[in-house]
Symmetry: C3
Subunit: 101 residues, 3 copies
């Protein structure tokens, strides 16, 4: 296989943020990044220390969501610059990777 | 903890590809990689720009799937060489990591 | 965006391990790591080669679970030192990443 350098990104939301549709629309329609996948966690907690999880009735609608995508390092930097105002600190993780070309 | 160097791999499919069983069988029976986990995304899009997701009736059967595994860098290179013909460009992401020994 | 160096960690369990609650409680209450998310896989296998997956009746309660978290490299090293006795070899993967500050 031959490869292209990319930056992997994982953005941590919860369903209660109501940011998912806006973010997906932006990544798809405006930024046209190479690929995006959304995963729903079954439990989790963030900096607040508040646990989000299924099976705890009053937070059943606040499950963790992860929006994962990758693109060239330059594109990822541009894309994240465009959405940084939407997301608090500690919510956007990135690392270098390679994708088959 | 002591560690061994590995390569992490994430392969992006959709349920509509009908590749999952073949790929899992190959990784398990033939390649015997150290560990494989399959995750189902709740929404996503790839290079085509076509959105895959639950809640959109006619693509309810085409949810994203991610096949994740890791093994030594040498083994991963061999394994990916054996399956590269199955997968289009932009579907196999890898990066260096460490696993507890 | 400005960034902080972190170590990403993924811990591979199965539901049958019955370790999830203990591990989450430890990471949340004792270690207070920056954020934890739990994902349930839909199929998988580990070093034993035994396949875990939905749709196979007698192992329906042994689906793969991944506990993902990140924190500073120093904190992650401490945290993993505290739980290494709980987890067999080949179950804790880590790699360097960056998080928005």
């Amino acid at each position: 296989m031959t490869y292209t350098d990319v930056t992997m990104v994982r953005i941590y939301l919860t369903e209660g943020d109501r940011l998912l549709h806006r973010l997906l629309g932006h990544l798809h329609d405006t930024e046209r990044v190479m690929g995006v996948t959304v995963f729903r966690g079954t439990a989790g907690f963030g900096r607040s220390g508040k646990i989000h999880g299924e099976g705890i009735v009053d937070i059943a609608f606040d499950l963790p969501l992860v929006v994962e995508f990758f693109d060239t390092p330059e594109r990822v930097e541009e894309v994240l610059g465009g959405i940084e105002g939407w997301l608090g600190p500690g919510h956007v993780v990135q690392w270098p990777a390679r994708v088959n070309a």
